[in-house]
């Protein structure tokens, strides 16, 4: 067998094995919408931990974090910080969201807006916005997948076809298995990614430099300022760092797939215990940085989007094909498992809130599950199309995702702490925040280093508060508000 055939066969084995395992695990589960979309609200601490870790650590973490360590240095550390801050917020915030979801039988995050603010227009707008923010995030996973598969193929094959095949597989997998299947697939994905990261972050530095510490010593000799932030306000300095950590940690749980994962918990304390233990998983990222640093010393000179290949290139050049295949397989799961959660999140938001609530179609259990499944395939096809046509602007689209989803946070928090806030205030805030974030990002306007999404969030909160104070005091919409 050629090296490429060996590596690619291992990738295929890993992906198919994982899908087979997850399908076997859910073979007797009856799929109604509650089960399909939020796992029947029955996940315990460990299972939820695995699902959340599975959703959060994507191929962007796997390749992008190493790429940033390779191409930018210290600014990459923000990825370590924001997750930690995000979990602390989640400890206080998600149990309340879960309780309201449970009491009112909510399935999606636009459901939460409908229930709290009593406005169908707001609910449908949130649903549509979330949908359009998630599609590019799925597309991003495809780009990660393409890098991994073309590396594993030693450039001998058309990665495009392989990516297409892998993605059709994952769409069919979500079609069948729902959220519970995604959580089972995460079990294997997390274990393999952990192995791959330990290899790349510890064994590679050991082989080339003796130890990770020796590698960092070497790195600081060659690039003395690589591991500290610049103090100026230009570019990725201190101001950027702090505002980005704040923005991204506030937006950490705002994707529709994350709210679905929160609803899937068995009880409130399960969510709290998760928030306590999830930061530990972040250590994985430290090893990913090590892998990126090692690559910077071993294969210097990559520029632009090529930095995302960093440590994979080291593996490809210096290790046997089966190692490359195993690592690329783990990476492929890191793209496909989060993609399946994202597909499910986007599809359920559309089927429940747009097709069901707005158009009044497919409101029965059986029909709703069916429509959600169908939409999974539709969303997958859209992401695939976007990937084929617009892949050059992906970095902008990813920024737009984070800048965008964070704008939903005031709507969630105000619903819990300030009863007077109504649909107009929240809607005005989201609209203005979204528009401003998109405008600033699109024109790449420099704000003295401040992350544009963060500024948009401040405007969002301020506008929401002003509209609320000007509007006549009205009766609260529901009676189950966070008491």
């Amino acid at each position: 067998m050629t090296p490429a055939a060996t590596a690619l066969s291992i990738v295929a084995l890993v992906v198919l094995g994982t899908i087979g395992f997850a399908l076997y695990a859910v073979r007797r589960v009856e799929m109604d919408p509650q089960q399909y979309i939020v796992g029947g609200r029955s996940f315990g601490t460990l299972f939820l931990w695995i699902l959340l870790a599975g959703e959060v650590y994507t191929s962007f973490t796997f390749l992008g974090a190493a790429g940033w360590a390779y191409g930018k240095g210290a600014p990459a550390f923000y990825i370590l910080s924001y997750g930690t801050c995000g979990y602390i917020l989640g400890y206080f915030f998600l149990p309340k969201v879960w309780r309201i979801g449970k009491e009112r039988g909510l399935l999606t995050s636009p459901d939460f807006f409908l229930d709290r603010y009593g406005s169908r227009t707001l609910c449908v707008s949130v649903a549509v916005l979330q949908f359009f923010l998630v599609v590019p995030y799925v597309t991003l996973q495809l780009t990660g997948l393409q890098i991994l598969l073309s590396m594993a193929g030693y450039g001998e094959y058309h990665a495009k076809i392989a990516v297409g095949v892998a993605f059709v597989l994952i769409a069919l997998f979500v079609f069948t298995a729902g959220l519970r299947g995604t959580a089972w697939a995460s079990v294997i994905k997390d274990a393999l990614v952990l192995g791959a990261v330990v290899f790349a972050g510890i064994f590679i530095p050991m082989r080339f430099f003796g130890s990770p510490a020796a590698m960092i010593g070497k790195l600081l000799e060659v690039h003395p300022h690589w591991l500290t932030l610049s103090t100026g306000t230009k570019g990725l300095g201190m101001t950027w760092y702090v505002s980005t950590v704040l923005l991204t940690s506030i937006g950490y749980y705002m994707g529709p797939h994350s709210i679905a994962a929160a609803y899937s918990a068995r009880d409130e304390n399960t969510i709290r215990r998760n928030a306590i233990f999830l930061p530990i998983y972040q250590i994985v990222l430290l090893l990913v940085f090590f892998a990126g640093f090692a690559a910077l010393l071993i294969v210097p000179g990559l520029h632009g989007s090529a930095v995302d290949q960093s440590f994979m290139l080291v593996v490809q050049r210096f290790y046997p094909p089966w190692v490359l295949g195993a690592i690329a397989g783990a990476g492929a799961l890191a793209a496909l498992v989060p993609a399946s959660a994202l597909l499910l999140g986007a599809a359920s938001v559309l089927s429940k809130n747009v097709i069901g609530d707005l158009l009044g179609i497919a409101t029965g259990d059986r029909a709703r599950t069916f429509v959600t499944r169908l939409l999974v395939v539709v969303v997958a096809a859209m992401a695939l199309y976007l990937w084929l046509v617009y892949k050059t602007t992906l970095v902008n689209l990813l920024l737009l995702y984070y800048n965008g989803v964070t704008q939903f946070m005031p709507g969630f928090v105000f619903a819990l702490v300030w009863r007077r806030v109504g649909a107009w205030g929240v809607g005005a805030g989201i609209g203005a925040g979204m528009a401003l974030a998109a405008y600033l990002a699109y024109h790449s306007i420099d704000l003295g280093g401040i992350n544009p999404g963060f500024l948009a969030l401040l405007v969002n909160v301020a506008l929401c508060a002003i509209v609320t104070l000007l509007a006549p005091n009205r009766k609260p919409a529901g009676d189950a508000a966070g008491s």
Binding site: I88, S211, A213, L227, T228, V245, I276, I283, L286
Partner: protein, 65 residues
């Protein structure tokens, strides 16, 4: 929950995010290195490891099982 407990709880919740954002300018150094890591990275990793302990204390203070 008593008033003091409630205050302690909020302080515990705010310490790690403070250390990971507002305190970053003071930690932005290479030396001293800790276990081979430059100080900035070691600082971030330290708070990442301490956060479960802080959240665990909050969980206990709230009297949960």
């Amino acid at each position: 929950m008593t008033r003091t407990r409630s205050i302690v709880r909020w302080v515990l919740a705010l310490v790690p995010p403070f250390m990971l954002t507002a305190a970053i300018p003071f930690a932005n150094r290479v030396e001293p290195r800790i276990a081979g890591l430059p100080f900035l990275l070691a600082w971030i990793v330290l708070w990442l490891i301490l956060t479960p302990a802080f959240l665990g204390c909050i969980y206990r203070l709230e009297g949960r099982p």
